[in-house]
């Protein structure tokens, strides 16, 4: 009897994994950045990494022009790779870059910025990752280009920025 229960449960577990993996095959793993016109609610409060004050994300992206929201974490290796691009965007195009520090410890985040430089105009913390997920992010790193007036996402970059996405971005900013 107990042998049968063992056998059935093992078979069920294996079958379950089979169907999950089979379904997983349909999911595309390469994300193409799509033009998204959905309006997203930026009107939430979060803590500023440096000043510890509660600020509205809305207030950080008001003036004319465009802003970049970059979701990052010090533990994320690809973030390290894309950091140089962000620094460039800041220094060359004077772009307003808002960082969302995703599920990270404050000490590590500050250490990361001290080491690699700080491209962000402001950084808000998101220790539980809820705000990032509500913005529609999948994980880190992710970068949204936003039109400040209409609050529309012009372009989403999922995964680290690289040469080609950097070029796309610079074309969009001009």
């Amino acid at each position: 009897m107990s042998k049968n229960i063992k056998l059935t449960s093992i078979v069920l577990i294996v079958l379950f994994s089979f169907f999950v993996l089979l379904k997983g095959l349909d999911k595309s793993n390469t994300y193409s950045p799509e033009l998204s016109t959905t309006k997203i609610d930026f009107n939430f409060k979060a803590k500023d990494l440096f000043s510890d004050e509660e600020i509205f994300l809305d207030d950080l992206i008001k003036n004319d022009g465009m802003s970049l929201i970059n979701i990052w974490a010090s533990w994320c290796l690809p973030c390290r790779d894309e950091h140089a691009y962000l620094l460039n965007l800041k220094s060359l195009y004077k772009l307003n870059i808002v960082g969302i520090n995703y599920k990270d410890s404050e000490i590590n985040a500050k250490k990361f910025l001290k080491e690699l430089g700080n491209p962000y105009t402001n950084i808000i913390t998101d220790p539980k990752g809820i705000n990032s997920i509500e913005l529609g992010a999948f994980g880190v790193p992710e970068t949204f280009l936003i039109d400040n007036n209409s609050k529309l996402i012009i372009k989403k970059f999922i995964g680290p920025l690289d040469d080609s996405t950097f070029n796309q971005l610079t074309k969009l900013i001009k």
Binding site: L22, K27, N29, C76, R80
Partner: protein
């Protein structure tokens, strides 16, 4: 023309496979079947056919025969000969053919070297092995044929992914495959032995050789992959807990557990069922690895093709094999004559059991970390990335007791030992380790909570394994491997704690201060190579006593157009100086990363030592 030759020989191999399966399947029921010379010669012909088709593919690559679709997609006339050859397995179709090649050759070796064993066991192993070969032949011929023709014939190919054009990576797949495929023999033979009721000491001493061979190749294969990642990817690390790396680590952990179990089975005639379960799991993990990286379900450099039909095929095949083995295990479980004498608490048996327990724990952590994101995405449509913090948090606390038991385990006797005779030398070594680690941790201000016990125990293990070399027992292979392992842990720890990194954007002529050193970007020059253009930067790193010149490189490949960065690394026994630079799209600025990585070379050496221990063990008749 030559394409057809390769193609037809694969079809002949398929026919032989069907014939052998139908012949050998008779022995599933009848216990008295003899392996006729016929079948033996058929197996030889099959291996020759697969060898011919593999050579054909190499020939097509070497002569840049672009009427072959695989060659067209993965080669280019300007590529150096070495990479033309390694290009043969640097793609989906070719790598599968390589897998098949190793499968058939291993089966051939098995049939030759197992002559003295029971006929039924041999026939059944052949049967299961042929099922695997059959599956791979079907997969190759009908979903990923390396011999597809192209017409009209193109003049030029599209080139091999430049990031794969590296000597370590050229031999990484074949070595790793030897390890993976070796586990298939273990799998088939475990199933055969369970059906023929011969899970016993003599089975253990026979299959032990295959376990060792697979284990040695798998270790070296993983090492080569890491070395490549260190030199080529330019991140300055050697292990990233990347899903693809994990996928090769999982069978290794399982195989390490099996290795210890098999030794115990051979010596003490216990752990019968457990050895079978581990054999089945190891191979399933190797196959899952192939599935995960080849199907495109995990995105990585190893994912050559994203053709869903291929993924479905491997997945079905994998699960057929898993179901087959589960059913066989449960159906024939009664044939396993388990030795029911319980081992004493303080005995080598318990130590081996503990080793297995830890291995299974490490395995499940890695497995969950790798598979959980896939499951979560399918079930919940949520995306997460599991990174190093997850693995470190879960593995490090358990590494501490693991190191402790590894230090004392090998010195415990078989059957029954006394706890009373606490060894004086062991205690004194332990005290020395505490003192050494205390001063070390204090001096370098390591802040991590667990670092002190971790240091104490890794130094303890290190000293104990050195001391063991002077012991009287002669199991030298185990001593070398265990010493290698302690060295590995210690080097990784020191490397992790003492590494220093500097990163900045610089242009030619710039100077930066870092610690007590000055980094100067002296010049940059452009050189045209056979199939790429190279930007070589010259950096000078100076401190009070000496100066070091590093020349990292950026390669701009034409076919296909890609930029790769080659780090320049100067290694000494104590530390590596690692410098890599990347082009930024403006004003002649380059992103420069300079790292000092202590004891890097010892990480490589220790893995070589670990594998070397396995090799010696293979040489000896009695371990």
């Amino acid at each position: 023309m030559i394409n057809q030759l390769g193609n037809y020989s694969l079809y002949i191999a398929l026919l032989i496979s069907i014939f052998v399966i139908s012949k050998t399947s008779l022995s599933l029921r009848k216990s008295s079947i003899t392996l006729s010379g016929n079948i033996f010669s058929l197996i030889s012909v099959q291996s020759i056919m697969v060898i011919i088709s593999f050579l054909t593919l190499i020939y097509a690559f070497v002569t840049s025969d672009f009427s072959n679709e695989t060659v067209y997609n993965n080669s280019h006339t300007t590529k150096p000969l070495f990479y033309k050859i390694s290009g043969t397995w640097g793609n989906h179709e070719g790598s599968l053919l390589l897998w098949l090649l190793v499968l058939t050759i291993f089966l051939f070796i098995f049939t030759v070297e197992s002559k003295n064993l029971s006929q039924r066991y041999r026939t059944l192993t052949l049967f299961f092995q042929q099922i695997i070969i059959f599956g791979f032949l079907l997969f190759i011929l009908f979903t990923s044929n390396p011999f597809s023709n192209l017409f009209p014939i193109p003049n030029e190919g599209t080139g091999l992914n430049p990031i794969l054009q590296d000597p370590a990576l050229a031999i990484h797949p074949p070595i790793l495959y030897l390890g993976y495929v070796g586990t298939s023999i273990i799998f088939s033979s475990a199933l055969a032995a369970i059906i023929s009721g011969s899970i016993n000491k003599s089975w253990a001493s026979h299959i032990k050789k295959w376990v060792l061979v697979s284990w040695v190749f798998l270790s070296i294969g993983i090492l080569l992959g890491s070395i490549w990642a260190y030199y080529e990817l330019g991140w300055g690390g050697f292990w990233f807990w990347d899903p693809v790396e994990n996928v090769s680590l999982m069978p290794w952990l399982c195989l390490t557990a099996l290795l210890h179990t098999i030794f115990t089975l051979e010596k003490r005639d216990i752990f019968h069922s457990w050895a079978v379960i581990l054999s089945i799991t190891t191979f399933s993990l190797s196959m899952s690895g192939t599935f995960l990286v080849r199907s495109g379900i995990l995105n990585s450099i190893h994912t050559f093709a994203n053709d869903p039909s291929r993924g479905v095929f491997i997945l079905c095949f994998l699960f057929i094999l898993i179901f087959l083995s589960i059913l066989i295990y449960f159906f024939y479980q009664k044939t396993i004559k388990e030795n029911l004498t319980k081992p004493y608490l303080i005995s080598k048996e318990t130590a081996v059991l503990l080793n297995n327990l830890f291995m299974m724990f490490f395995l499940s952590v890695v497995l969950i970390g790798t598979v959980y994101p896939i499951f979560l995405e399918v079930i919940n449509n949520e995306k997460i990335s599991i990174g190093p913090p997850f693995y470190h948090k879960l593995l490090i606390p358990f590494l501490i007791p693991f190191l402790f038991f590894m230090a004392i385990g090998p010195n415990i006797k078989w059957i029954n030992d006394k706890i009373g005779k606490i060894n004086f030398t062991q205690v004194s070594i332990f005290i020395i380790s505490i003192i050494v680690s205390y001063f070390f941790v204090k001096k370098y201000g390591v802040s991590y909570l667990l670092s002190l016990p971790l240091f104490i125990l890794s130094i303890f293990l290190f000293f104990i394994t050195i001391k063991d070399f002077f012991g009287k027992k002669v199991n030298i292979s185990q001593k070398i491997s265990h010493f290698g392992f302690s060295l590995l842990i210690l080097s990784i720890l020191l490397n992790g704690v003492l590494s220093k990194e500097f990163s900045s954007n610089m242009k030619v002529g710039d100077e930066r201060k870092f610690l007590n050193k000055t980094i100067k970007f002296e010049s940059i020059k452009v050189i045209k190579e056979q199939n790429y253009q190279s930007l070589i930067g010259e950096f000078n790193i100076k401190d009070e006593n000496n100066s070091l010149s590093l020349k990292p490189e950026l390669r701009i490949y034409d076919q296909p157009q890609t930029i790769t960065s080659e780090a320049d690394i100067s290694s000494t026994i104590f530390s590596d100086n690692f410098l890599v630079f990347n082009v930024l799209k403006n004003d002649g600025f380059y992103n420069v990363r300079y790292q000092i990585k202590p004891f890097m070379i010892w990480i490589w050496i220790s893995v070589i030592l670990i594998s070397f221990g396995g090799l010696i063990s293979l040489k000896k008749k009695n371990v």
